[in-house]
Symmetry: C2
Subunit: 426 residues, 2 copies
């Protein structure tokens, strides 16, 4: 086998065997296959795709490029949730302790924000002392003690993906469905899961802006799971407007606490319950919605969140009293210019505005300001009067209210509120 022969075959529309794919990925990690060869290969995959068997082999080779968790000591079913990323998407934070409180182990490996989308790890780091960089044995210990963990991927988990992702980022080969699907699934399969629920976001604030591509990505990932013997369920959920009423790290932690205390915005609750009940179903637990509502009502889910935060070095006091979380020094409100109904509250525009405030990163190396962000005071379908506040901007030094204003439009006629759960793919 040599790399050129494999590139030529894919270039000409042919296919690679399992052994050839394993050779390629292993060689890439070991620097026997050069970056420029993998770049040419990634472009052939971008343009010609991978078939189901190639994709399963590609994902498997990525998965086995590094450490694979062994959670066999944990006798609960192990179920994770993965979101393709959106604006205001803090679902993981209330969801993981809720599902754990129902008796399921949740090894929730999360990521950081980039561009207009936020990241769970950044949000958690709003909590003073919170440590999200754990090694394999710490992860296992935290799961054993409180049923779930929220941490970043360890350095040894799927090193091929880290290398390949950086290369794709520099070679115009990021938005390829097989490469995205294998990147996500290789990391999830390395967690030693019994089941996985995917939240594939669709809309202006999502990576996939149209339903057809989102559906294809979802079914591709479900197929990879099936090929690897892991049941996967995907929900396509709307990301035209931000999820919940807050965008920004501390603000989203506070909103997550609200949800766990039995209040919180209805769209956030709906997505959390829909994803959670599917996680429970994969663990063999029926009537998931009621079970989840019960562990919120009796405070057990919130208690688990406090326990996890404490186990990971964080100060649970700021969750008991979210006013102690980092707070922006200044706020200002953006108001409706006329009376009517909110017709648009654009997720991407709000996400970009929050990023510019410092809540997110324009470049990977940028620092996050946990205190700043945006609170939405009206969402799509809500009636508003001229002069009524639409959003509150939490800022440090400077603010550009026009960026937030332009995310909204107000219509004279009533606007139906958006459907949020669009489709289920299994």
């Amino acid at each position: 086998v040599n790399a050129v022969e494999l590139i030529e075959r894919k270039r000409d529309g042919g296919r690679l065997s399992d052994a050839e794919i394993a050779w390629l990925i292993d060689g890439y990690v070991a620097d026997r296959v050069a970056d420029y060869q993998m770049a040419a290969m990634a472009m052939t995959i971008y343009l010609h795709g991978l078939d189901d068997a190639e994709l399963a082999a590609w994902t498997g080779a990525m998965l086995h490029s590094g450490e694979v968790f062994d959670l066999s000591e944990i006798d609960r079913p192990k179920i994770d949730k993965h979101s393709t990323g959106g604006v205001g998407d803090k679902v993981s934070i209330p969801l993981a302790p809720m599902v754990a409180a129902c008796g399921v182990a949740v090894p929730m490996m999360s990521g950081r924000g980039l561009g207009h989308t936020g990241g769970t790890l950044d949000k958690l780091e709003s909590i003073p002392g919170m440590e999200v960089r754990l090694d394999g044995s710490q992860i296992s210990t935290v799961i054993k003690k409180c049923g779930f963990v929220m941490a970043g991927q360890t350095d040894n988990l799927v090193p091929a993906d880290r290398k390949l992702y950086a290369l794709r980022d520099a070679t115009g080969t990021v938005p390829s469905i097989p490469l995205i699907a294998s990147s996500i699934m290789s990391k999830k399969l390395a967690e030693d899961l019994d089941g996985l629920v995917l939240d594939v976001k669709v809309g202006s604030g999502a990576f996939m802006t149209d339903l057809a591509h989102a559906r294809l990505l979802a079914s591709t990932m479900v197929g990879i799971g099936a090929n690897h013997g892991v049941p996967v369920v995907a929900l396509l959920t709307a990301m035209d407007q931000p999820l919940g009423n807050t965008v920004g790290n501390s603000l989203e932690i506070a909103e997550s606490v609200e949800l766990l205390r039995g209040s919180g915005p209805p769209d956030l609750l709906e997505v959390t319950l829909e994803l959670g009940s599917r996680m429970l179903a994969l663990a063999g637990i029926e009537n998931g919605t009621e079970t989840l509502q019960r562990v919120v009502a009796d405070g057990r889910a919130f208690e688990l969140l406090l326990k996890m935060v404490e186990l990971q070095g964080g100060d649970p006091g700021v969750l008991a009293d979210p006013s102690l979380l980092p707070t922006a020094p200044q706020t200002m409100e953006v108001t409706a210019t006329h009376t009517g109904f909110v017709g648009r509250c654009d997720a991407k525009a709000i996400g970009v505005a929050a990023m510019r405030l410092g809540a997110g990163r324009e470049l990977k190396e940028d620092k996050i300001d946990h205190a700043v962000g945006i609170t939405l005071l009206a969402k799509v379908g809500d009636p508003v009067e001229a002069g009524q506040p639409l959003a509150r901007i939490h800022y440090r030094d400077t603010v550009d209210p026009a960026a937030v204003e332009s995310a909204f439009s107000v219509s004279e006629s009533p606007v139906p509120s958006h459907q949020i759960i669009l489709e289920e793919i299994r």
Copy 2:
């Protein structure tokens, strides 16, 4: 501008501006654009192509990546010939002095052999002392003294092509018509030519095995010439069997001398005269065929070859008496197994057999044995009797006659001889 944006545009079927192409090629030579980015770009070009304007800009950017000859001191028209390469193709060696003897300057920059195809520089180095690595001023001096030169490209000529060719070789992006055409044309345009004749070989022993691809490559190169103000004429010529009766370096020099002394095989003479008369026509000289035959008949062309060899440090004595050229210690003949007509004398098979004898290179770093090779004693259409020799193998230590035998097939019914000049594209 950034490289990722340009890759994405080509990936999605868009086009690049002249300035963007210049930025990309300059950046690649200056290491501001990474190898892996150029590899991804080359694959998008392989799969989506370049339009005429992009191709002209790409070729121009390559051309200007290094030194461009200034031959303005030479007051003769400057015309070169380029062949896409074949087996037994020694045309350049008799052609250049013939055309120079007619009053045209021929700055013939040649290459080396790889795989089953030979290279003019390797053939010339059969002549003891012959130096083909000349710098720009030596090239100019030799042209001034004898009207032509035969040398390798200088290190400063089109450095972008050297870098890009090595990358394409390692990334499965060699056989792309726009990339081949711009590679050839950038080097030829850097020679400060008034006209160029292309010999695009078609058939088993050629880079292009079918007429449609050869025609497309030829018309692409003619188009690049037009866009750069240089008239280009292309002949498509057959390369199903070797050209002439010899394959191997010393053997081909001896056959070239034969041609310049008024004999030599008819197919080699035909291709030489057809290419030469078109070179003369580009220089404004009519009745090219007769003019070329006259400079052979009166010995002026051969005299110029002797002069050029002497100017470049070679021993002209071995041309006056080719039996002094390096000679293989052993020979053996391959014979016809039955009576009939030669139906096939496969160029690629003969080229590979000669390479294995040591006449060519399997890898770029391999050394050449100038003495070894194959003399063809029968060609397509010739009647042969059982036991009659088909070819003579000139070898050093070991020989595999089956490799040569299998290149031939003998048919019971008469076989028409092949047409050699297939098409003209201008």
